[in-house]
Symmetry: D2
Subunit: 324 residues, 4 copies
């Protein structure tokens, strides 16, 4: 389903090449100052334009349709809409017969029986994350005193900043690269998280895996913890505020925030849409054929992902704050 | 909260040293043969007893309290209870003042203000996963024709089977080890998954992170995918059933099963409860002190986790099957 | 909260004098023909214009923003927006100090601390039911072979049709009238309803009481059943399809449809907004004062309610159909 | 489904003649004193034994299985179980072929395809309301300073107390009577209720219609309001606390409590199980036959309902209090 959250409830809608994409946010507290300008900085970080991102550039101007009065949230649902403008839908017609490897084309045709909007990935498009970014902006405003910051650690296996030659080379071959994003949430109150099932890690991972191209998530030491000993991994508590000497746990014990920074890393696969020729099954000809994907794509989607990761974390933490 | 699932809805209850732990399963279809014996094989796999597991051995005999009539499920909620019998609660009294590093003691005292049942970890205990295993047994019965199998890949950084000397040595020092579990779900129908927010990965990770000690999850190539190129990572579709030449995606595209095996790995941290001395904050004395944890614990909880991982995956896939 | 339904999930947003009101519908099956024209007949029935309804007449032209492709539903969320155009917000400024009796003005100021949009009732306005009517149109399309029809039984205690002189007289005094609406859902399959808590009556009443001005609901014989004997009230089953000789139960036994017509009645109070002078508390002057409500209002809102009642019933029955 | 509530979440399980019935309550705050004795007074009010109630008398002794430690709630789920002891299941075998008029027998056989536990009504039995009463006891403890009291207004169309001859006569003929229950919730804070969809009336009616035999509900003046004028029905606000001169609204405006008593009435049908002969369809013989219902039944179930109505109201108001 297209909704997430229990009190701060975010509902996503829209298609890449339809009329618009957007979000409806229910459960936002009253009195939060909110206007169009507040969204622009985060939206800008998600935008394409940099080397390695798609040449499709949209204005991404948010229209606040409901839930704000006299510049403040009213407690009623906040709906924000982004009109699609720069679309070239003709590029996608052949993908129905020849589903792109790594993409949702095949599963969408199976699940939605030919009715899914295939243009630009339709509702599966990364463009739908615009609504998440908007919901993240509002959530960050609710988390007064906290900060949530995600940044790129690696691109294509190289440390971020040392990856540029690799990206240039991959692009020259019509290929794509993945990467790793790390997120730090600071000054998060102790006690957020609702285990057994709604642990902080459960909810953050749930939200994060809704972002297209995510393949893994780990908290604190993550997979490295599996090779550590308890005596190494345990974080000694050093004061009455719960501060720990190390932060191997990534700020969460027993599914509940412990007051130290919440830290997690996210693995992003290389963009599935590549212009280099690939094999796929041709469902009309009933043979394997060579596909050359047209359309405009990101060679390295990870470059646009950090602000979406922040939004996912902010949505979850804002919801947990309201539930506490 | 303590419930999970939209149609196959699992509610967990109980404490480690209370009267009982158990599960209430709502939404199970009618007519599934179910009796006490059906639970025993999976419960046995979760049991302690092997080297590296706790000396507390419980009978773990399930009592089916509702939802079954004439040996078949009725469509009404199925409640299964496990009485606690082998408890030694005196061991835990000092943990209120001196919270164990890596454990929920500190966050529980903050969140529940001194009211939480601290005996044996209370509702945070791994013992609560008994209910998940029971829910997994029923879910597996719903997934006719499919199989879900989890096994240990690594313990303490060593390949499983090559780890035994390491475990012996860690135990001799009162220390603990972590590990990695891999799960394969085979013959899963195409089309399970309800993105945008309820992708297969979102729901499986949500359920998996409710298992105590989990620190990371990755699907298909997972974190390794972040260093691959699109041309390497994309799985070429080779026939009309959606079969792919490789399975780097781990059986999921766009959040929806594609008919190939669903594959994921889970990182388990070393058990937090170790008998080796550790530093922690003494909340009464208001200084850092040395803690020696008593009680009976698993030196290597990962040995008991695979069947719980299977249960989490089965719960999710059964729910998605009903939602399709 | 502003969402309703478990699989067919309807989220309402918007304010009477804001940018727009609308609805986001999640969980609609694929392949249902849907275009702007399909909404117009039901929207017309909800419109003002008849004697006894408000002189504020809006175009109420629905814009389908997402979820439809090539004239068919895609399985992605369907968002429909209605722009507000004919607003006169200056009329409402004094209601903050002097809340209207019978209205939400006082509770809204208490609950939302002065941040609620008070113009035209804001998110409490009956105008918000436009989104319900739109969701009802789509739901009716899902209920192939069934019909849902609501009509007015009584106005101001008189049989509908015999009420016109009474209405004219009430209007001449700046007063308002209530009424009773009856709804019949025919050809509903046997077996809809998910007790214990999600009985047909539970869900229909939940949806119906979200319509402003509803004060009561009864199924089948309703309150009259309380004075009957079991031998009178029990409906004898007369054939293998479950057809009953009488339909005192209103088509529901044990919370589940029995194949006979689902019948319920809804009590609508007289519109709270009247132009006749009334006493209310003046929160600035701290005395009881005389209020004369300005703005444009319905003297008899029941005249516009039947199509909203149908929509509520259709939403519930469509959801239950998907859940069956 | 068998769960209700968003933060105070009540899950019901069990069958009339199975092992037990019970309830699992999630989301209860910590620190509420709770022990077995606390349930007994309300359970006693629900018990049979009075004239007009079933001769099946159960001990109804609650076992608290989880969620309480040192006599206080811990924040973990509270599970309470009632073992069934006094059952005579042989009485019900013939109802599969000959469904009882007014009962769930026919719809259950259609919906659950022969797998439902038919003994004593199974999961449709009024006995399942034991769990609701238990959840109501805990909810009332959360509503400090408030009171919730339901009482019988009418039995069989006569004022309560004046009905006894009528009941005696109906029982002598193997017939049954219905009645009306009125509930008053006093000292409820202003501002409870979460419209648009989760108005106070929506949630209370949702919970109330899950009680077997309920046919109608009305708030304040209810159906009588439909024949009133706005100038009569509007309640004049008389002071800064929102106190109104009259309480025609039953304490709710715009779906939100206004600080006056919440008042509603519930119509209870005459018990469907009567020993007087009735016609029903015989599904094996495929003809209409005469049924004489055996088993032990309540001639006048309304006598046991008030405490269940209170429980439903308390569950909703406690949930809304947590959500505020």
């Amino acid at each position: 389903m297209n909704s997430f959250g229990r009190k701060y409830r975010v509902s996503i809608f829209g298609e890449s090449h339809g009329v618009a994409v957007g979000v409806c946010i229910d459960g936002c507290p009253v009195g939060i100052a909110l206007q169009q300008e507040d969204f622009l900085a985060d939206l800008q970080r998600r935008k394409s334009g940099a080397k390695g991102t798609t040449p499709r550039v949209e204005a991404d101007m948010p229209e606040i349709v409901s839930g704000v009065f006299n510049g403040k949230t009213t407690g009623a649902p906040i709906t924000v809409i982004f009109r699609n403008e720069n679309t070239r839908s003709g590029d996608y017609a052949n993908l129905v017969a020849m589903p792109r490897p790594g993409h949702a084309d095949y599963v969408a045709s199976q699940k939605f029986g030919g009715y899914a909007d295939y243009r630009g990935g339709g509702h599966f498009s990364g463009r739908v994350t615009l609504g998440m970014v908007a919901a993240g902006v509002v959530a960050k405003k609710m988390l007064t005193g906290s900060s949530i910051e995600a940044s790129i650690l690696e691109v294509g296996g190289k440390k971020f900043g040392e990856h540029e030659a690799l990206l240039k080379e991959a692009m020259s071959k019509g290929d794509s690269l993945g990467g790793v994003v790390e997120c730090h949430a600071k000054n998060i109150p102790v006690g957020l998280g609702e285990p057994f099932f709604d642990s902080v890690e459960s909810l953050i991972s749930h939200a994060i895996f809704s972002i297209p191209a995510v393949r893994g998530i780990e908290f604190g030491k993550g997979f490295a913890a599996a090779a550590m000993r308890g005596s190494e991994h345990n974080d000694a508590i050093t004061d009455a505020s719960g501060k720990t000497a190390t932060n191997n746990a990534g700020g969460v014990n027993g599914g509940i925030t412990n007051g130290n920074d919440v830290v997690f890393r996210v693995a992003i696969k290389p963009t599935s849409s590549i212009s280099a020729p690939q094999q796929t099954y041709h469902f009309e000809k009933q043979t394997v054929e060579i596909l050359e994907v047209k359309g405009r794509h990101d060679a390295c989607i990870v470059l646009r992902v950090p602000v979406v990761v922040e939004a996912a974390a902010a949505m979850v933490l804002a919801d947990l704050l309201l539930l506490r």
